[in-house]
Symmetry: C2
Subunit: 331 residues, 2 copies
């Protein structure tokens, strides 16, 4: 167990940090967690590397998704050599004191800083939505400088960076060592680009202490992540954890100042959309006291279905956002 | 054929108009088209009711989706009496001179004004994404006043109005009288909330004159339209038509100042998402000169997949948006 560890990996030293996205009032971290004890499965059998009280602010560092198998000088040929058993090294688990099965773990992202490089790839036979259209492996890498706000995809195309962790999850209630590829009720590889700075994500707790793990950090990604990868990059994250009693959710949800959102995973996008829709109706019933038939109508008028990821097989993730302004008293 | 008709239906007289959404520079209409000759199928066999040159500005009026079977005093019991053969009365067809098969019809929406009422409904056995969860018909109606910007869904819940036509389509290349329910390559019932004021929609032309029809106007709707209806309301629309030669698209696309978007329809959301993704790659190749493998990566990083409608069976519609800012020279 590492408590208050201050060792950080070379690729993530302060001098290499890009102050990418942060809120004005980032609190001072109570704990620091480096990448020296990552794991890459979801299971209650993986012992925690840090124990924190509710309300703790944790600064943590993440590895990129291949666990160091790629670097900024890698080429497309290197993709053939990847050992997929190493994919998704995760930082954690973090045991949050007082979190019990049936509770909800709330994780608020205060600050996310990119490391000094990142990569994007697709390959034949991979998980991309159009993998069957392409016959050659593809890899692009970028170096990031401190203060960088955009990434130049190619000359003339510049994408604003919007970093977030592709994987945010708690331990499932099983000793089985589950793959980190598909998202599940415990969260995990949701690849949801809205779960970044300024967002609080709510995760259902399945085991004592919740056992939060984070990784697969993305510098930027669109809804769908259609080629199967984002710009995959190591990062530094400052987050705050809270235990919510008496809030019951079946799958992860999240909110910002502007909207509340629910997610549903399933083996088809259609079923994931139905689950997300039902969770939105639950939210409108439970949090806004609406009759369910009214909630269904309101979600049709003001709820937006987004395909968060279409590539993390065998599970698609669909999210529904509803704006908070509709519940505010108008001037 | 009606050219320059100035008769407007009672429910859409100027005094009942809600100046909902408009751009500063709405041009004066060259033609006015009322609702006295609506039709409700897609077919090249339906003769045009108006003939306009490219560049024409047309003011047209639409009926609500049931063609007058519901009114502001209707109740849920009235849903059982609906004749679904009357659904989607469309204004048009408008023959645009010079539009030939293989061309693209560009339709820009300058102004959309709500009529004086609207309704929303869902029902067991209907097309809603969760129709199997509900066992009673549901109907809600609203009156709209001039200048109204929000609709009060119920006390404490107020939704900003964002009117758009659920149906925008050209004639398909068939004499068959096709249902207006599913969207197809000719557009039609796309139920895409972004195709409103400030948007230009591009429709592939299949028959001489294009034969544009518009209807099923929605006061507000979320991505997905999950209960099967929006707030369905009659409207007044000012639009401008242009014929684009040498632009080849297979299914409707659209753009605003902020983004370019493509759509794909299919019998599964998954296949619709794949089609939309491929169309985005076509766009990036054709309009931005990208290599296809780079376009795939870029769409994964900056393209957003949205479920536009999940209820117009047997066809789902998925859209992908890409922001234009990524192509702009940075200061």
């Amino acid at each position: 167990m590492i408590i208050g560890c201050t060792t950080v990996p070379d690729e993530m030293t302060q001098s290499s940090m890009v102050p990418e996205t942060s809120v004005a009032t980032t609190p001072e971290p109570d704990f620091v967690l480096d990448t020296s004890n990552t794991h890459n499965k979801f299971s209650r059998a993986i012992p925690p590397v840090l124990r924190v009280p509710p309300g703790a602010v944790v600064e943590l560092f993440t590895k990129e998704a291949t666990d160091g198998q790629l670097n900024v000088n890698s080429t497309a040929a290197d993709l053939a050599k990847l050992d997929f058993n190493l994919i998704h090294p995760l930082t954690g688990p973090i045991h949050v004191e007082g979190a019990m099965p049936g509770d909800v773990l709330a994780v608020t992202f205060h600050e996310i800083e990119l490391g000094n490089w990142g990569w994007n790839a697709h390959r034949p036979g991979g998980s991309g939505l159009l993998a069957d259209d392409f016959h050659e492996p593809y890899l692009k890498t970028w170096s990031f400088s401190p203060g960088q706000t955009h990434v130049e995809f190619e000359p003339g195309i510049s994408i604003p960076l919007q970093p977030f962790p592709g994987v945010v999850g708690v331990a499932p209630d099983t000793d089985e060592m589950l793959s980190t590829i598909p998202p599940r009720a415990n969260g995990g590889n949701m690849d949801n680009k809205y779960i970044g700075v300024g967002t609080t994500v709510y995760l259902p707790v399945f085991v004592e202490g919740a056992l939060l793990s984070i990784g697969d950090t993305h510098a930027v990604q669109g809804d769908g992540e259609i080629c199967g990868t984002a710009i995959e990059a190591p990062m530094r994250i400052v987050l705050e954890v809270h235990v919510v009693k008496g809030k019951s959710i079946l799958e992860p949800q999240y909110e910002t100042d502007d909207y509340y959102a629910v997610t549903g995973f399933a083996e088809t996008i259609h079923e994931a959309a139905r689950k997300a829709s039902r969770y939105m109706l639950d939210y409108l019933e439970n949090e806004h006291g609406m009759a369910r038939e009214d909630a269904y109508a309101l979600a049709s008028l003001a709820g937006d279905l987004k395909i968060s990821e279409a590539v993390d097989m065998p599970h698609y993730l669909v999210s529904m956002h509803i704006p908070k302004e509709i519940f505010k008293k108008r001037q």
